[in-house]
């Protein structure tokens, strides 16, 4: 009983790590622009596909370059995937969001644009690459550590570690660095910031680079853990990660991180003790209850509306 409980905790930590990594991206963009970047889940999906093509190329499967050993491929794939996914995220910002921001239109229109961009990414992928699922190559051989009857794979530990490191890194960037201060300043007052000589557009681009980069990393890790890719993989997990970010208190890095793990725990525990079809039902009911008790989320601070 205890063993299976601990086993489930490890599973939940891993599952929560994916939610956290995606939720962090949502939260960064929301924190700076107050924009729900609904396309973020699909950027995660694009990240997984980019990781697939990067790894296949590096492994020499396409015959462009001689194959490399798995560990080297992984070491190269992480930065390459993050960079290429960041390019996708920034392109989205430049093409779709920035012109709208320049015009100063209602925030809702930007949200709708984001939603539609997500749909475009999904279906363009489906149209270009076809509906056949792709299986991700194995990069590193799985080794299982077992102690006291609990089995933990090296991949699982890696995923959890990456999520924690990503959280610490982002928190460091936002709290301690100069550009993080600029990000918080834009969130606080978007109109005063350019007057203070802060290049607002550059800071926003940097935010998108960070958010999309970590979505790409999440995509790579997800593809390594569950090695089947399909174009709709990002949609559901993206929506759920977003809900997790809101429950944590959107706009707070800590909240997004905690919310992701909370959702992971709830889902894994529901699956462990109930039929697995109840997962969404119970998870969302719990989240809805949390939100109705504390509408600003666990770590969120209510913005006071001045009259």
């Amino acid at each position: 009983m205890l063993q299976s409980f601990i086993q489930n905790i490890f599973n939940a930590l891993q599952w929560g790590s994916f939610y956290s990594l995606i939720a962090l991206g949502y939260c960064l963009v929301y924190g700076v622009l107050l924009l729900i970047n609904f396309a973020h889940g699909d950027i995660f999906m694009v990240g997984a596909y980019i990781a697939f093509y990067v790894c296949m190329t590096l492994l020499g499967k396409f015959g462009l370059i001689p194959g490399m050993p798995g560990w080297l491929v992984l070491a190269l794939a992480v930065p390459l995937t993050m960079m290429l996914t960041a390019v996708v995220g920034v392109t989205l910002e430049r093409v779709a969001y920035r012109p709208l921001r320049r015009k100063g239109v209602n925030r809702l229109y930007v949200v709708i644009t984001a939603l539609m961009c997500g749909l475009i990414l999904e279906h363009a992928n489906l149209a270009l690459l076809g509906a056949s699922r792709r299986s991700f190559p194995t990069l590193i051989s799985t080794s299982v550590f077992s102690f006291a009857g609990v089995n933990v794979t090296n991949l699982k530990i890696g995923v959890i570690l990456v999520a924690v490191l990503a959280f610490l890194f982002l928190r460091f960037v936002v709290v301690k660095t100069k550009i993080g201060m600029a990000m918080r300043a834009i969130s606080y007052d978007r109109f005063a910031v350019p007057l203070m000589g802060i290049p607002a557009d550059n800071v926003i681009v940097f935010t998108f680079v960070l958010g999309s980069g970590f979505a790409g990393l999440a995509g790579l890790l997800f593809a390594m853990t569950y090695p089947v890719l399909d174009p709709y993989m990002g949609a559901l997990i993206g929506w759920k990660a977003f809900i997790a970010a809101v429950v944590g208190g959107i706009g707070s890095i800590r909240g997004a991180f905690a919310g992701g793990f909370l959702l992971g725990f709830v889902e894994i525990m529901v699956v462990a003790f109930f039929p697995s079809t109840f997962r969404d039902l119970i998870a969302f009911t719990i989240l809805l209850l949390i939100l109705s008790v504390k509408p600003t989320g666990l770590f969120g601070v209510a913005r006071r509306t001045k009259i």
Binding site: V110, I112, I120
Partner: protein
Amino acid sequence: MKHYTIPALLVLLLAALVAVSMTGAMNVYWQSVLMFMGINIILSSSLNIINGNMGEFSCGHAGFMAVGAYVSSVLSVLLFADGSVFGDALLPPQLAVFLFPVVLGLGGIAAALVGLLVAVPSFRTRGDYLAIITIAAAYIVKSTIENINAIGGARGFMGMSKVTAAMNTTAELPWMIIWVFVGTIFSIWLIRRFIFSTLGNGVNAVCQDEIAAEIMSVNTNRVKLTAFMISCGLAGVAGGLFAHVLGYVNPGSFTILKSTEVMVMVYLGGMGSLSGSVLSAVLITLLMEALRPLQIIKWVVIPLILVLLMQFRPEGIMGNRELADIFPGLKKFYRMKG
């Protein structure tokens, strides 16, 4: 006399529709396109109350549609269809025609009650948080349906075609076309009455400034509650019609993609414009059919249209104007702000 022009025209239109579909002048394909057009009109004009007039962002309209679809289908199959699911029909099939609106209405009421799930949290939160609550509510509805095995779970629920067949025992008419038509006109009438009422002005006031509205003695909680319940209830009616037109429902039809489709219609038509939503529902339905040969690319083209729309004409086709504001001549035929 002019007050009767529109009702008379509508009756004529309905008679013409029935005539052409009975004589076979209009084939089954076009009949179904017209029926889906009607359902889409109900959906988009009802979502327009929340997303347009009230300025909220609800992305869970498909969930309420699912509630209406399932409640009314289960009731109608239970009452009028001899089937394997619930055994023999409880009522004679001759009653099907007369009780069908009641069944639809009950589906709508059930959806409106589920709408409370969203309306009550909306008293305290707005904007992004409310968007999440609507998404979560839609997921909860879908997931609940998937877990009830008595109504088919994820496999779906069927038997509604027997109900439509039962209606034909009273008179051989294309009943579903009639019901969709009546439902569409009823919804538009109801929404018009609501929006131009005192309560409807309250909805617009909440959109512009909730705090100011509250100070001006608008009971914002009551306004939100009514708006959400009417909108969700009409979505339920649309769902009921959808289920009976298809003769089959499954939870997979009520995903976030369906909600997105309805949102596209609302924003294409213009936020807060009833005639805009009707117009864009018609346009989008035709566009969907026209783009059908493109298959999956259709779902690239439609979002792209909306993205371009947001860039170059973010207020949609009509803005927040009504048809009568653009063609003042129309005002003669129906009272404004009644």
